[in-house]
Structure formats: structure tokens, C-alpha cells
């Protein structure tokens, strides 16, 4: 990785392997305790204040990773809310084993996150407009997409289609889940095909790319928004920076594969601060769906 260029090397280094890590690192962006420090600017932060600020550092504006459930909780109106496709649960149908069994990795991830798999889907409302919203749980095996993520995403599109209400997806993923081999690759086709049905019916889909969105998730559902939005400074790309560096054998340009880089190269429509997402997406969805936001 480039030395220098990022004043936030510790945070950056910790982030780098995350695309492929499925365990271990950065269990919590915010450790237990009253005080915490911003991984980017190192400022000491009062935890309660940070949480009120949606886990955006009040000093430097760094967007920390947040869990899928917290993400949806902060995005949706308080009422109504109901979880969809929660009954779709993972099975180790290939009996995949690397240094650990996939089955054991699943159990561990379920224990660590309290989620059954890496995508949470909710039927709810945004500023009074009914929406279906889903969010990737990055702490669950790197937010990797396997059968359950694919199926839950399709059910989210089904629900949006049936009610003709907008779909919003917050992606945070290292890509396809290797432990489900080719079946997970096929989830790229599955989710993209579902989005085509949505698009053909004129039901809006807004994709919010958060840190990090890589590989098979980036190369399918996440890039297919009618509007593609990113949070500031999120790592977004197809291949991971290390793989690219090893392939091209040159130092990557500063800010490579960051939201600002993607905006400059025309891949996304806008960068939106987390604290403004409800307002801005509410406005966008109101225009696209012809419904009135409160």
C-alpha cells in the first residue's frame, strides 16, 4: 500500500485486508467505554456524542462503519417497521472447509453479530413514504454475498415491486462468499436480474455504497442504482487495492477507489454525508416516485 498520502494509515491499514478477512479484525468501530478515539483523526470522542452523530467523527467527519441494524434504525422512520425474509437462513450445502469449516464460521459470525447472515431487509418508511430498505452487515463474514444475501435481496425487490415502493440498499461487502463457491457468483446474476424487473416496472432503486463495497457486490447490485450514492471516503471498487498493486506493480494514486475518485470518474451520482442521508434520499425518492415526503 502507498506509504503516506493518507494521514490515517492505521485506520487505512486495518481497512485494507477487510475485503477478504472474514474474522478477527475491528470487531467494533466503537469499543466499549465512555470514551473512544476516532480511527482517522485520533481525536478523543465522547461515545454518546459520537452515537448521536451517527458514528461520524464530529471533529474530522470520518464515517465509521456501522452495523446493518443500526444503519436501518437510523435511516427509517420510527414507525412502521417490519423485517422481511428473516426466515431465509444459511446452510453449508457444499460442506466447505478451508482452515475452518464454513459451518463453524457461520456459527461464529452469527454469535458475533446477532444476525443470521450478512443482509438485513426491512419494510418501513422514509419521511412518511413507504420503502423497502436493506443493509449489508459487514461484520458478518465481510458482508460477503452467498445464497442468503442473494435470496433476501431478491425478496426485498419482490416486496418493492409488489407494492410499487422504492428500494434502498446500503452495501458494505468484500464481494462474493468463497465458501459457497460458484453458487455465490451466481448471486450476482440473480440480484441483477431482480433489479432489471424492478427497473422495467419503473420502481426506483437507490444504491448507497458504504465503506467498503468491493468485488461481486460492487459488480452487481451496488452499481445498478437508478441513483448511485456513496458515503464520503468509502472504498469502492471491483478488485482490491492489494490485488491491483500486485498486478500492475506500481503505486496506486492517492485516493484511488475512494468515493471522491468514483465521483470524479463518473461512476456515482453523488457523495452524501450520513447525517444528511434521510433528507437527501427522501427528496430524491419523492421526485422519482411522485410521492410526497414529510
Amino acid at each position: 500500500m502507498t506509504e503516506g498520502g493518507f494521514g490515517t494509515m492505521n485506520w487505512f491499514k486495518r481497512l485494507l485486508p477487510s475485503r477478504i478477512r472474514t474474522e478477527g479484525i475491528s470487531k467494533r468501530a466503537v469499543p466499549e467505554g465512555v470514551w473512544t478515539s476516532c480511527p482517522a483523526c485520533k481525536a478523543m470522542l465522547y461515545r454518546a456524542e459520537l452515537e448521536r452523530n451517527l458514528d461520524v467523527c464530529p471533529k474530522c467527519g470520518h464515517h465509521m462503519r456501522i452495523s446493518a441494524r443500526r444503519r436501518l434504525d437510523k435511516f427509517l422512520d420510527a414507525e412502521p417497521r417490519s423485517e422481511l425474509a428473516g426466515d431465509v437462513r444459511p446452510v453449508d450445502f457444499l460442506k466447505f472447509k478451508d482452515t475452518r469449516k464454513y459451518k463453524d464460521r457461520l456459527t461464529q459470525a452469527q454469535k458475533d453479530t446477532g444476525e443470521a447472515d450478512a443482509l438485513v431487509v426491512m419494510r418501513g418508511a422514509l419521511r412518511g413514504m413507504p420503502v423497502v430498505a436493506c443493509a449489508f452487515e459487514f461484520e458478518f463474514m465481510g458482508g460477503s454475498m452467498g445464497s442468503v444475501v442473494g435470496e433476501r435481496f431478491v425478496r426485498a425487490t419482490d416486496a418493492a415491486l409488489q407494492e410499487r415502493i422504492p428500494l434502498v440498499c446500503f452495501s458494505a461487502s468484500g464481494g462474493a462468499r468463497m465458501q459457497e463457491a460458484l453458487v455465490s457468483l451466481m448471486q450476482m446474476g440473480k440480484t441483477s436480474a431482480a433489479l432489471r424487473r424492478l427497473g422495467d416496472q419503473g420502481v426506483p432503486f437507490v444504491s448507497v455504497l458504504t465503506d467498503p463495497t468491493m468485488g461481486g457486490v460492487s459488480a452487481s447490485l451496488a452499481m445498478l442504482g437508478d441513483v448511485n450514492v456513496a458515503e464520503p471516503n468509502a472504498l469502492i471498487g471491483f478488485a482490491g487495492p492489494r490485488v491491483i498493486e500486485q498486478t500492475v506493480r506500481q503505486v496506486l494514486p492517492e485516493g484511488f477507489q475512494r468515493s471522491e475518485f468514483l465521483l470524479a470518474h463518473g461512476a456515482i451520482d453523488m457523495i452524501v454525508d450520513r447525517r444528511q442521508l434521510r433528507d437527501r434520499l427522501g427528496s430524491i425518492l419523492s421526485i422519482l416516485s411522485g410521492k410526497q415526503a414529510t
Binding site: 437462513r89 460458484l182 433489479l195 482490491g240 500492475v248 506500481q250
Partner: protein, 319 residues
């Protein structure tokens, strides 16, 4: 070490060298060694049969990437007529890692799209090892739309280590290019027949691989990641590549079992590269048979079935 043979094929290479030697002596000394050659030939065949009946997944993955393995244009030349290559994505450039063209197979007009690898150093660099950039996938998409406009069935030949992981590719939106192809192919109003002829590498393969029928040559592979890449990540060392290949189940026989592919085309003894003509003729027969089946299905029904097929991918529990 004969570079035309992989390490596990070296016993065959040695026998073949012996046969060559004998033939050379035979020409020279007019000794009657025909019997000896025939005997050695038979032994070589038997040895090949033995070795090839017990290939590991990792060995197959290396055969799929054999430097002598036939590539898209080798098949195009032998299977299709009236091939007219179509170049460029109309936006940025022409990516030589993917070839597209109008063609006929058995007289039937089609569009053919395939990854293209290079044979020698110069061509390998030109073709970028068959790793396409966004302009390659966008060229493919442009030509797919052309096929749709004129109602031409689409044949895709898959052979890539994956989409190119490079700075320029990321700048031009590699992710979006792949995603857009998946999106569009899922609803393309023409029959789509995809065949993996070598290496089916991840998103770069799928970007021309959403289809009504997916078929594979026997010693080709199709996987979410290469065994080496998987080993580097999950085993933290290249040593795990053998185990990773097994775990990933990337061989044609395993994928047929899992019903992720519809048909496997047997290769000649020793692999496609040992008899390119024979492989091409088997592939041609399979393409023709599948195309005629697909052409009989009304296109609306075809697209509906394709969608259902895509929706069926995945295994999960309830509750």
C-alpha cells in the same frame, strides 16, 4: 521437461519422446521398428487414459489454463463461417481481450462473443491474458444489443482468469461494466448459449455468461475465484491451491452434479489441445444441438425461463 506437457503429464511426454526418437532412427537406418512404435503408442495411450481418469481438481484447473489449449478464435475458425469481427465499444476503445462478431454456424446466422487469450508473448500482452477491461464488456454489450435488434441467437465462449484488476479498469468503472451486462443479459430478447471453453474466472466470466443454457468443455473450470487466489486468502498460502480447487468444486463434472451447468462436452484423450479439430467438431455439434432447441422456444418464454433459472440459484434453510 517438455513444456508442452504439464508436470503430471511428464510420463506421457517421455514416452512420446521415445516414439519420436524411434521414428527418427527408423527413417535413418531402415530398421523395422514399426512394431515397437505401435507398442509404445498403445502404452502411451493407456498411460494417458490412466492419468486422465484420475485427475485432481487442481490438475484440471491447470489443464483449463494449458498454454496450448485452444482459444476462442481457434474454435471460431473451425466452427463458424462468414465470421466478421466487430470492434469497439463506441465510447472508449476496442478491447482485444474480448472478440465479437457476426457469423454463421451450420448456415444459421448468430452473434458470437468470446474472451481471447494470446498464444505467444506479444499476443498475450495484446490480449491481456484474456482479462477484459470495461470497454471489453461494453463492446460485448453493444454487440449483444445488436444481436437482439436483429433477432440473432447469441453464443458466448468463456475463457478468462477474470476481469482485469488494473488502475485504468477501475477508473473506467469495471464494476459497473460487469453489473450492467448481468442486468441486460438477464432480459435479452434472444436465445443465449454460453460455453466455458477454458477458464471461467469469476465476474469476468459471468459478464458474458448469463444464459439460457450453460455448457462446458470437460477440462474447463468455472469458479468464483482461482484455486490459487482462494488459497492465498483462506489458507494464507499458495500451498493450499490443491485443497482449494477441491473445495471450490470448479470442475465440469462437479458443476454438472450441482446442476449449475447443463451439459459437459467430453474432450479427446489428453485434453482439447491434443486434438483441436476433434474438440471443435464436438463443440460444434453441441452448439448446434442447443441452439436448435433454444430457437424452438418462443422468446418471451425463453426470457421467463432464464429469469426463473437465475432466481433458483442458491441453497438456504428456513426458520
Amino acid at each position: 521437461m517438455n513444456l508442452n506437457f504439464l508436470d503430471f503429464e511428464q510420463p506421457i511426454a517421455e514416452l512420446e519422446a521415445k516414439i519420436e526418437e524411434l521414428r527418427y532412427i527408423g527413417n535413418d537406418a531402415e530398421l523395422n521398428i514399426t512394431d515397437e512404435i505401435t507398442r509404445l503408442r498403445a502404452r502411451s495411450q493407456e498411460l494417458t487414459r490412466n492419468i486422465f481418469s484420475n485427475l485432481t481438481a487442481h490438475q484440471i484447473s491447470r489443464l483449463a489454463r494449458h498454454p496450448q489449449r485452444p482459444y476462442t478464435l481457434d474454435y471460431v475458425q473451425r466452427i463458424f463461417t462468414d465470421f466478421e469481427e466487430l470492434h469497439g465499444d463506441r465510447a472508449f476503445g476496442d478491447d482485444p481481450a474480448i472478440v465479437c462478431g457476426l457469423a454463421r454456424i451450420g448456415g444459421m446466422p448468430v452473434v458470437v462473443i468470446g474472451h481471447q487469450k494470446g498464444r505467444n508473448t506479444q499476443e498475450t500482452i495484446l490480449r491481456n491474458y484474456g482479462m477484459a477491461k470495461p470497454e471489453g464488456y461494453r463492446k460485448a454489450l453493444r454487440v449483444m444489443k445488436l444481436a437482439e435488434r436483429f433477432g440473432l441467437p447469441l453464443v458466448t465462449l468463456i475463457d478468462t482468469p477474470g476481469a482485469y484488476p488494473g488502475i485504468d479498469a477501475e477508473e473506467r468503472g469495471q464494476s459497473e461494466a460487469i453489473a450492467r451486462n448481468l442486468y441486460e443479459m438477464s432480459g435479452l430478447q434472444i436465445p443465449i448459449l454460453a460455453c466455458v471453453i477454458g477458464e471461467g474466472g469469476s465476474g469476468g466470466a459471468l459478464a458474458i455468461g448469463v444464459a439460457d443454457r450453460i455448457i462446458m468443455l470437460e477440462y474447463s473450470t468455472y469458479s468464483v475465484i482461482s484455486p490459487e487466489g482462494c488459497a492465498a486468502i483462506l489458507w494464507k498460502s499458495a500451498e493450499g491451491a490443491g485443497e482449494a480447487a477441491d473445495a471450490l468444486g470448479l470442475t465440469s463434472s462437479r458443476l454438472l452434479e450441482l446442476r449449475l451447468v447443463d451439459q459437459v462436452i467430453p474432450e479427446p484423450l489428453g485434453g482439447a489441445h491434443r486434438d483441436v479439430g476433434e474438440t471443435a467438431s464436438r463443440l460444434r455439434a453441441a452448439l448446434l444441438e442447443n441452439l436448435s432447441t433454444l430457437k424452438r422456444i418462443p422468446v418471451q418464454q425463453l426470457v421467463e425461463q432464464r429469469h426463473e433459472r437465475l432466481m433458483r440459484y442458491g441453497q438456504f434453510g428456513r426458520g
